[in-house]
Each structure stands twice: as structure tokens, then as C-alpha cells.
Symmetry: D2
Subunit: 136 residues, 4 copies
């Protein structure tokens, strides 16, 4: 299984005047975790810059379960859950520490991603070995 | 039916190094349209600032259908499609002009929103009259 | 003189948990006004997308004078104040309506911009006619 | 002397269609470093959330010296360089590794910050001991 976790501290620019993290900012946390996951799969962001082969998000679903606040440390775990010919599916769980070693899930998300060769915009086949990372 | 459209021109800060609009930037376009829709429903952003009664997004789904680019004018249409006791559902269609009066849909989205009284964070009932805006 | 004004309504994503507009969000307002100013000068964002000739900001100064809030309508006036061989200087004034027809200045900014041909990154000369827009 | 460094990897959402990091994204890197510096001074973001005593940026100057790109690791060093009765001055240097142990400065910035008690918006005196961190 391919899975990776990253940690982010909520900054001012992640929050809005409701006093909590903006629904839009969560997508940055998810993107950072997704980039780490693709790094694990052999496609780190630095090499994308050279290859111009980019993972394009074609669908996002996100459920906001509990409000996060300034200074919270959010752990985002990204898991590769599906591999098809020209797209992959990733799931994300976002949690914060809730005292006494407990964790509280604040959001969960799913993204479908296609590999796209820029600047042509042509889709590219998913590397064959990625299929082996999916548990039957 | 409650429906409203807004128009946004894609700025540099909406794009990324793939040469197209970032998946995250679309959520700003959606938020602007949602705020206009809530204005139509009698809850404009300026009054929210006073009342501290905020629409909190509890779920987002978005499908990215076609890449938008710098300078594109995106029309976002927001429609109130569901009203329940403590939440409402909004749908969004994002299109760009495609020449000869044609339009091309670049994304579609759905958000579930709850009314939340800050700073307590308590949910508030949806105004009764909103139900009348839903077509049977 | 080349000068243009645009209007923006403060959205949730522009604010932070201090209850006011984030210092970073002002730079989006400034960028939108700068893009309008370059449009006046014959370089609109849509054509930049084709030409890959971009105005690159090489210096920003911004003074935050008064906090703006959710729902405020911010008028940003951009003025071309200097034209040199490979760079131009723009000034920005951001105001909100303060009742009874009065305006309150909330921020002022200055940016130095160079024209850069991408992807080579080579600087390009400022169009000669731009010099005529500067008042002696 | 109070000084701290943080490290950030450039993500897609930090870049724009010019292929390089957006001038606006640098302000996020600066804010993260500034928050770390205030943490060193005894005001970490988590406690600000409780105290509602926030550092409000009242002026930013930033010079963009060299374009950063997707995947670059940016080291931001923040230094407290001035302490006055109701404001402090911070300087920031942003560098990327340039091979063979060398570093390339990509931007430098200065911010003047005032401590503000929210929601009243009243300025608060700078803690007396901060003055001792400034080298004569």
C-alpha cells in the first residue's frame, strides 16, 4: 500500500473571519499531501518541473467534519486507493491532536487525478507498477 | 427558483505552472457565486459581518471538466437545489465563452452548507421561506 | 495619464481569524488593478496568455492603513507613475466607502514591474509610447 | 539576537502560469517565518488564538530577486531588527540551494508589525524584554 502523512500548522492565511480554517485552505493541505504521495510513487514535484508531466485533479470530494483553528497541527494522510489506465484515486484523512494522545478527524477527502503532459494537455498512461500498490 | 450568475476574469494568482487555473482557485469562484446566492436569500456578506451568522460549507464536490486559462471570463451560476432543517444544497455550473455565442462548461460543483452562529459554533435553523424556493 | 479603477467585494477567503482582511489578500486586489492598468496599456491578460510576455513584479511596497472587513467594497485605483527602459512603476490606492459619500483610504501600494518573455525569462524593453503617459 | 529559519517546498498552488512562484505566494512564506519568529518571542500562533492578541502587519516591502520554481526548497530566515513602543520591524531573507552547498537569494523582505488586541482593534505595547533582543 502506498500511504504517506504530512503535518501542517494552521497559519493566519488559512483561516477566515468565522474564526476557523477556510474551506478553501483545506485543499492546500490536501495538495501538499498528494504531492508527497506522488513523490512516493516516483513523481516528485521537482522532477515534474522538468518533465512537465503533471497530475491534474479531475474531481475532488471533501467533507468538513470539525472546525480547525489557528495554530492547530493538522496531520494529513494520503493513500493511493485506486489505479486505472489513465487515472488514479487518492483518499485523504485530516486529523488534529485532541489531547491525551487522541486524534480528532476534522475532514476527509477523495481526489481523482489524471496524468497530463503539458503543454499539449494530452493524457498519459498510469505507470504499470502503480497497480501493484493497490490491495486486492 | 433561486439562481444567480456572476462573472470572473482569471488572474495570474488563479493559475499554476501547469499553465491552467489551479484546482483550488475554482473554489474561490464558487465561493463568490455562493455569497451572491446567499445575498439573494437575504443574507449578504456585509450583514453576516454584523450578525456573525455564517454559512459553513460542510461538503464540496467538484468536477473539473476542461482547463481554464489566464484571461478567460468564467461565468458561475449558483442554484439553490435543496433546503433541509439545518442545511441547504447549492449547485454551481462554471462556463466560459467558446466563440460564436457558444459556451463551454469547465466545471460543475455541489456544496452542502449549514448556518452556524459564531463564535459559539451552534447550528441555526434554515429560514422557513427558503423551502418555497425549491421546485417540486 | 494612465489610471484605472476596479471594485472588489471582500469575500470570506480574503479575511483571516483576526476578523479583518488578510495582509496577503490585498495583493490580489492590487494584482487585479494592475492587470486592468496593463490592459489599458494594450497588454490585457488574455493576450499575455498567447504572447507569453508577462509583467513580473520585482518590488512591492504596501502600507496597511485601516482594516477592511467582510462585505466591504474596495475601490482600487492603479496609476502608471514611472516608465524606464526595462521597468515601470505603478501606484495603487485602496479605499472603501465611509458613509455620506466619503471615502476612507485603507491601503496604498507601489509596485515595480519588468516585462519578461517566458519561458526564456529574458527582460523586454518597455514600449516606447508608454513614456508619453507620464506627466512631466 | 532573535532569528529563526523555516523551510518550505514550492507547491503547485504557489506558482502561476508564468511558470514561477507567484509574487503573492512569497507573502505566505514570509508569514510562516514571521509566525515562527513570534513563537520564539513567546507569542506562538496557538496562544494567539486564545489571547486574541494578534501581530498586525502595517507595512510590507519585498524585493523579488530571482524566480523560484515548483519543487524548490525555500529557506526563509526571519530576524527581529527593530523594537519600538507599539511596533516591531522584522527582516526576511529567502534563499534556495544552488548546488555545491551554495545558496541563491531569491527575495528579501521587511515588515513592520503592530500588536493589536482583537476584537477591539486597540494597539498594545510591545513587551519590554523584546528590546533586549536588538543589537546595539
Amino acid at each position: 500500500m502506498k500511504q504517506i502523512s504530512i503535518s501542517e500548522t494552521v497559519m493566519f492565511y488559512d483561516t477566515d473571519c468565522g474564526g476557523v480554517v477556510s474551506n478553501i485552505a483545506y485543499l492546500r493541505f490536501v495538495e501538499r499531501a498528494r504531492s508527497a504521495l506522488f513523490g512516493e510513487l516516483g513523481m516528485d514535484v521537482e522532477s515534474m518541473n522538468e518533465s512537465q508531466l503533471f497530475p491534474a485533479v479531475i474531481r475532488t470530494e471533501i467533507d468538513y467534519l470539525f472546525p480547525a483553528r489557528l495554530g492547530n497541527v493538522i496531520e494529513v494522510t494520503a493513500t493511493l486507493v485506486g489505479v486505472q489506465k489513465v487515472r488514479v484515486t487518492c483518499e485523504f484523512s485530516l486529523v488534529i491532536a485532541a489531547g491525551a494522545g487522541d486524534e480528532k478527524q476534522i475532514a476527509k477527502a477523495k481526489q481523482i487525478v489524471a496524468l497530463v503532459q503539458m503543454p499539449s494537455g494530452k493524457p498519459r498512461r498510469t505507470p504499470e507498477e502503480w497497480g501493484s500498490y493497490i490491495e486486492e
